[in-house]
């Protein structure tokens, strides 16, 4: 456990509003500052709240320009990684314009200001930096990585993308060519086919079921993308996390520079939740000529605020989240040799709460595989887990938690998740206690409520045998 000795300075003390106490600091010889190319903010008084947690020392501050930032300063590798996110994504694309938010994010590193696509990409390579954006269903995000020496120049280049993005015709037409190929290749992609069958069976009218089509792509224009970018990316909804060899005072002006070109606010309608508890249970086979069948099963999940959530999270380890320690793996892989892997997970996204899982097996054994999954679910619903199983689950979930904090990239991602889900800056420190508090009565109650196989839809993609169901009409025509 390394101890980083930060330099003590009077300006910092006056600005300190942290929840950790300064009396905890025992001193130590201040180290001589090392000259770098980063310069300090000239404005004094950046208020930084320091949360000295068990897994990360998180510095929270609001930049002079009003952007909320969580930073972990990590000096041991000379790199800086910044993640930005805005609540609003592809589910909020305008009607019949599916693909628009994807076009926006695709275009963000394709030219800005005086630089066209090649000029922008070349400038990034000259700085050994990366900058890219992506659109999820409900979040739009961008990330910037650079070597510490190049951080000011890297952030300045990214700033031009937010202030003066070009949305040139060339990259736009390339986007359409790529999408056109994507529309064809997805027709035989088992994961896509399973996703599509799931959406059509369970929530066909929800925004999460929307997808690009030839018609929606034909409706897109660079001008629409330019306008939609100003809707997606605004200063009031921007959240930022960063990890790297940088201090709050160094980072704040760089973030302000990046965000300077964004509009203050915009109007985005929130996504209404899809309610799987009211959806019909489906059984769907999608024909695909390949030796294995992909089997996906999906049922209603649990909100984080429900008292059932942490019991379910712990239970999921024994069901299918714990690798070889899960009963589904022990039965379907180890005992029966039916699959290379099977797993389950809980998705606590309030817009679509699910408990789902899946695996692949040769077509000849698809029926046996599904029967095996259902038999295990029935056993959980009827008898729950054993005390040793619960103890093992807790031991792993608690004991392995530090492994998620051993790199800058992981810490940045963990902080972003906490911010996006509004879990609170102390979540990392509370999480293991919430797991420890789960009792076997909790777990077995939850198993009885949620793991009845009749609550789950089964989606099979392949040419499965041993399943008595008609193939889905309208499956992809080879």
């Amino acid at each position: 456990m390394r101890t980083t000795q930060f330099l003590l300075a009077s300006v910092a003390l006056s600005a300190l509003t942290g929840c950790s106490t300064i009396s905890g600091w025992l001193g130590g010889a201040p180290q001589a500052p090392v000259a770098g190319t980063l310069v300090e903010a000239s404005k004094p008084g950046l208020a930084v709240t320091v949360h000295d947690g068990e897994f990360a020392e998180i510095q929270q501050f609001v930049t002079p320009g009003g952007v909320s930032v969580w930073l972990v300063s990590e000096p041991s590798i000379p790199i800086v990684a910044v993640q930005m996110a805005w609540k609003a994504g592809s589910a909020s694309d305008p009607a019949a314009a599916e693909g628009l938010s994807e076009l926006v994010t695709y275009s963000m590193n394709e030219g800005a200001g005086g630089l066209d696509s090649l000029g922008f990409q070349t400038a990034m390579e000259d700085l050994n930096m990366s900058f890219s954006c992506a659109a999820g269903a409900e979040w739009t995000s961008c990330s910037i990585s650079s070597l510490t020496d190049n951080a000011p120049a890297a952030m300045a280049l990214a700033a031009t993308a937010f202030a003066a993005p070009r949305f040139d015709e060339g990259p736009f037409e390339r986007f359409l060519r790529e999408e056109s190929v994507g529309l064809k290749t997805r027709e035989t992609n088992s994961g896509y086919l399973a996703w599509r069958a799931t959406t059509q069976a369970l929530y066909p009218d929800h925004p999460f079921a929307r997808e690009t089509t030839e018609e929606s792509l034909a409706s897109l224009t660079p001008d629409k993308a330019r306008a939609h970018m100003r809707t997606l990316m605004t200063r009031d909804r921007l959240i930022v996390t960063a990890v790297g060899a940088v201090s709050p005072e160094q980072l704040a002006p760089l973030i302000d520079q990046v965000a300077a070109g964004l509009p203050d606010t915009s109007t985005i309608a929130p996504v209404a939740p899809a309610d799987l508890t009211k959806a019909p249970v489906a059984k769907v086979i999608v024909d695909l000529p390949q030796p294995q069948s992909l089997v996906r099963f999906i049922g209603p999940g649990i909100d984080r605020n429900s008292p059932d959530f942490f019991p379910a999270f712990v239970l999921n380890y024994t069901v299918g989240g714990g690798g070889f320690e899960s009963r589904l793996m022990k039965t379907l892989r180890v005992a029966k040799g039916l699959t290379y892997g099977i797993s389950t997970s809980l998705d606590p996204n309030p817009s679509l709460l699910t408990w789902s899982g899946g695996g692949q097996t040769k077509n000849e054994s698809a029926g046996e595989f599904i029967t095996g999954v259902k038999d295990e679910m029935k056993a959980f619903a009827a008898s729950g887990v054993t005390e040793p199983e619960l103890a093992d689950a807790k031991a792993y979930l608690i004991g392995s938690y530090p492994l998620g904090f051993d790199s800058n990239a992981k810490i940045a991602g963990q902080m972003m998740s906490v911010r996006q889900e509004n879990l609170g800056v102390d979540y990392f420190d509370r999480r293991n206690k919430l797991i420890e508090a789960v009792t076997i009565e909790d777990v077995n109650r939850v198993a009885g409520t949620y793991l009845d196989p009749d609550r789950f839809s089964f989606i099979i993609v392949g040419q499965p045998e041993g399943i008595e169901m008609p193939a889905l009409a309208g499956s992809p025509a080879p």
Partner: protein
């Protein structure tokens, strides 16, 4: 990442980033029984990555026994004299650990990632299965069901995927007569015939401390690792059975040019690829790195010659790449590949792509391009340090094929020293017009598009 001293203080001046740079000092030593040890300190979090690499892989398999190195790797999780059936994983995960293993032609590696206090226990477990593995020979038992699991793994990785099916055929032809000829997971019919005795024979021949490398990355010092390693691994006597040496041999350059086509009902987008005989960083270190720099310029990313010409200007492709497999012990392929834009034939794509390659061969690279490419490769090495397990993998894989820690530490300087002349010379030597190649076409099955 708890910092016990720095509670609530702000870093107001420049952080001592570069003062700490010098502290990053991976080191190596050897135990008396011949087991090599590599320590990669990384004190950011109180966790460690513990790996044992064996210098045996699919390249060492006997004729007709393809897949044994990989299937055996699965069997290593089953049972030992002192660890009951399937208990190995239970013990690691109960200790808060993550574990897995992987097999290549050149090596087999096992790893656990755990909180630092568990490191000694992980060594105890790996040492146990180095010497006390039990292979159950019940004809309806765990070896047989694990063989079925590997068959499912083969279907999932290869047989479901038309592009991978074609690549398996091409690489088998590329390495014909070489120990890399058969894919690591093995031929389905040979895997199906492997027996518990095959597993036991393989274990007895290759699993020994003198044939192993221990890699520990994370919150440790070399002295701590030495003490624990001597305690857990130091007492294991070498078996003395690893005497044959590796089956590595130089790869014979392709002697003729051929076209291989795979048509499949699942293909919706055709693909064009050419495989040339390339270099290995072990056998031709200078040429291989020069080739890496050259291929970065030719087809490494959006600024590359191929991308700019085929995707941006002529709009004949949606992707165009050049890359080489240089990290195997023996020579691997150097590859040109492209995916056509809608309505473009593979012939038209090939003509345009090869015209761009020939232009490069004739005119060479600019100094600016070479500086940019080699800086990118050097910077990638710095970014790579962010991943503790990635670092453990990089050191283990390189040492397992005979490389040194010093070579890895020198890599950024080595790559930055490559000149434009060296980069183009390597590209010319591999892709020159007189060179033979295997061209691979992935196409939709008749009547499916």
């Amino acid at each position: 990442m708890k910092r016990s001293l720095a509670a609530g203080l702000l870093a107001l001046l420049a952080l001592p980033a570069f003062a700490e740079e010098a502290v990053w000092a991976p080191s190596t030593f050897t135990l008396d029984n011949g087991m090599e040890v590599v320590v990669i300190p990384d004190h950011r979090a109180p966790v460690v990555t513990h790996m044992v690499w064996y210098k045996v892989g699919a390249a060492d398999e006997a004729p007709g026994k393809s897949g044994i190195a990989h299937l055996f790797e699965h069997v290593m999780f089953k049972q030992t004299k002192n660890i009951g059936p399937e208990e190995f994983t239970s013990i690691v995960q109960r200790s808060g650990g993550q574990l897995n293993a992987f097999t290549s032609w050149d090596y087999t590696a096992y790893f656990e990632r755990v909180a630092k206090p568990q490191l000694g226990k992980m060594m105890e477990l790996e040492a146990e299965r180095m010497v006390n593995l039990i292979i159950n020979d019940d004809p309806g038992g765990p070896f047989i069901s694990e063989r079925d699991v590997v068959k499912e793994e083969r279907r999932q990785r290869i047989d479901n995927n038309p592009g991978v099916i074609l690549q398996e055929k091409v690489l088998s032809e590329f390495w014909k007569g070489h120990p890399y000829e058969i894919t690591v997971i093995g031929r389905m019919e040979e895997v199906a015939a492997l027996t518990p005795q095959d597993g036991l024979d393989f274990y007895k021949q290759y699993y020994s401390p003198g044939n192993a490398i221990l890699v520990v990355a994370g919150d440790v010092t070399p002295d701590e690792v030495r003490t624990l390693a001597e305690q857990h691994y130091g007492a294991i006597a070498p078996t003395g059975t690893v005497t044959a040496g590796r089956k590595w041999q130089p790869v014979t350059p392709l002697a003729e040019t051929q076209l291989m086509t795979h048509a499949d009902p699942k293909v919706r987008q055709p693909g064009w690829t050419r495989y040339y005989t390339g270099y290995s960083q072990r056998r031709q270190p200078a040429d291989a790195l020069a080739l890496e720099v050259g291929l970065e310029i030719l087809g490494g990313g959006m600024t590359s010659r191929l991308y700019q010409s085929l995707v941006e200007q002529q709009q004949l492709a949606i992707s165009a790449n050049a890359f080489a497999w240089t990290t195997l012990h023996d020579e691997g392929p150097a590859v040109l590949s492209a995916s056509p834009a809608p309505g473009v034939t593979l012939d038209a794509l090939e003509t345009a792509l090869m015209a761009e390659v020939e232009k490069v061969l004739a005119e060479g690279f600019t100094e600016k391009e070479v500086v940019r490419a080699r800086n990118k490769l050097a910077a990638d090495a710095i970014y790579g340090r962010d991943s503790q397990s990635g670092m453990a993998n990089a050191f283990g894989a390189w040492l397992a094929i005979g490389g040194t820690v010093e070579e890895i530490l020198a890599y950024p300087d080595t790559v930055r020293a490559i000149t434009p002349e060296q980069a183009i010379a390597a590209v010319r030597a591999v892709f020159g017009s007189e060179k033979h190649y295997i061209e691979a076409h992935l196409v939709p099955a008749e009547g499916y598009l």
